[in-house]
């Protein structure tokens, strides 16, 4: 790309906000009641985090992997790719993330209880229960609500929250794509002058806090 410094964010936006909203609206209508199933999966992940059952990391990450795979196929590949020629690349990234969650998720070493888990539960609960409200709050109406498990941004934020609660170093490998997805999502919304860009960016940063705090433990604290 020559004269790259002359490009602005809006130069990369191929569609209008109206078209984007219609895409989500038609997608939501087409996949119903998948949203209810996805929300149930979100509640199940919260329950797993709060529990002490064996293999809870593996089960939670498998549920998330199914969501990532669904979004890759049903939203990014089949629908979003119609208006954004970069969407197939994003779909590939989602499929890779699903694979990583299945293969590496079991070794996440989630603590049992504690502040990290409580923090993750709070963020995931926000993604499942509150994030869909952003659509009506921004005068878009319920049909354009973005729900956990079926659309990228709330799913990526919830995934970051779960991974950031883990103690294993491999969490950073698993966090890479969700953080990238949030960056792309926030920039897309920002280019459309949509304040939800701030929710995505701040939500991702907020969800990451437990991981960040463990990288920089307060002086005198034990590892």
């Amino acid at each position: 790309m020559s004269e790259w410094w002359t490009y602005t964010l809006s130069d990369f936006l191929l569609f209008s906000p109206k078209t984007y909203d219609r895409l989500i609206q038609l997608y939501n209508l087409a996949i119903w009641p998948a949203q209810a199933v996805a929300a149930a999966a979100g509640v199940a992940i919260i329950a797993l985090l709060a529990s002490a059952i064996p293999y809870r990391e593996r089960i939670a990450c498998t549920l998330l992997a199914l969501a990532w795979l669904w979004i890759a196929w049903a939203f990014l590949w089949q629908r979003y790719a119609e208006i954004n020629w970069a969407a197939p690349w994003l779909a590939a990234a989602f499929a890779v993330q699903a694979l990583l969650l299945v293969v590496l998720g079991g070794g996440l070493a989630l603590p049992r209880g504690g502040r990290e888990v409580a923090f993750a539960i709070a963020v995931i609960a926000f993604c499942v229960g509150a994030y869909p409200l952003l659509a009506p709050l921004s005068q878009r109406g319920w049909p354009t609500a973005e729900m956990f498990g079926v659309l990228p941004d709330p799913t990526a934020i919830a995934t970051i929250a779960l991974l950031a609660a883990g103690r294993a170093r491999l969490r950073w490998v698993l966090l890479l794509i969700p953080l990238l997805v949030c960056a792309v999502g926030a920039l897309t919304l920002w280019a459309m002058d949509d304040w939800r860009a701030l929710v995505v960016a701040l939500g991702a940063a907020f969800a990451l806090v437990p991981s960040w705090r463990r990288l920089n433990p307060p002086a005198g604290s034990s590892p």
Partner: protein, 310 residues
């Protein structure tokens, strides 16, 4: 009496029918003459081109949404009904080519438009295949014009386009740039290559092309297509707070959009400006700007001053 009275009404009726028939035959001609937009000749061939065309960046990228596709078809129908011809797109514009092809076919307008598209791939080897894929999406027998999008891999694509033109597979060859990028390269190509069209950004706020590119295109007999006339609405949004000046009536403008379009069309090097829209009323308003009177040099300066104040 009955017999005498018959011929008179008969003659009157005959005359009335004759006059009415002649009027009916003539009115559409006058109406067409009245409503036909201004045309500019493509310098290389003399082909008449309505001075306002239709762009498709963002506006026609609506995917498979049937409601939005139908609205796009309505826009194209209104565009052609108002005398428009050139529709411009690119493989870069998402689903726009599919939407154009679908809308033109549904409205039965495929044969009536000047189909302008682009080649947009960094691979010279894939250029021809991409153009063929684009042609199938448009559902046209051939493109009238194929342009190298933003000069991407122009060294590879221009020979392909010249060969296609020589073989009758396309009619014209062009290059494009936008937002003032790579103007030195554009100048260089205008001097060296046998181009038919060049596409650049131009409006009262972005006038860099006035200095060298527009005069050069005119000297070299290259038709000029103008993109981003409204800076993707930003220009009109900045003007929205200003009341339309009194002098806008002198050039028969009722909106700022028409003022901007007339400013562009009035430049003697410009062949066609391609505003994009999703609205039928806007496409009619845009085509109505391709009418006399156009602003003279003094009035064009006043338009620039008004835009700079905004």
């Amino acid at each position: 009496m009955h017999d005498r009275s018959l011929p008179a009404p008969g003659r009157r009726a005959f005359l009335q029918r004759t006059v009415a028939g002649a009027s009916a035959a003539l009115v559409p001609v006058f109406a067409r003459a009245q409503s036909a937009p201004l045309t500019r000749n493509v310098p290389k061939t003399g082909e008449a081109m309505p001075a306002v065309g239709l762009g498709s960046w963002i506006t026609f990228n609506v995917g498979s949404d049937p409601v939005a596709r139908s609205a796009c078809a309505d826009v194209m129908r209104a565009f052609v009904d108002a005398g428009g011809r050139m529709i411009d797109s690119s493989p870069m514009y998402g689903s726009s080519q599919d939407v154009i092809g679908d809308g033109l076919r549904r409205a039965g307008l495929t044969q009536r438009v000047f189909a302008a598209d682009k080649v947009w791939t960094s691979s010279g080897a894939q250029g021809r295949a991409q153009i063929e894929q684009s042609r199938r999406k448009w559902q046209v027998a051939r493109f009238d014009l194929v342009q190298v999008h933003n000069l991407l891999a122009w060294r590879e694509h221009l020979p392909t386009l010249y060969a296609m033109k020589a073989a009758g597979e396309i009619r014209y060859v062009g290059i494009t740039t936008s937002e003032g990028r790579r103007h030195r390269d554009v100048e260089d190509l205008l001097r060296r290559e046998p181009l038919d069209f060049v596409q650049v950004s131009y409006n009262p706020a972005d006038r860099e092309v006035e200095e060298r590119i527009l005069p050069l295109a005119r000297d070299r007999g290259v038709a000029v297509i103008v993109n981003r006339p409204f800076r993707e609405r930003a220009l009109l949004q900045s003007l929205a707070g200003q009341a339309l000046p009194g002098w806008s009536a002198d050039i028969a403008c009722t909106t700022w959009a028409q003022v901007v379009l007339k400013f562009i069309v009035a430049h003697p090097a410009v062949t066609c400006v391609i505003p994009a829209t999703t609205r039928v009323d806007h496409v009619r308003e845009n085509l109505a700007a391709a009418r006399e009177p156009l602003p003279d040099a003094a009035l064009r300066q006043r338009i620039v001053a008004a835009v700079e104040r905004a």
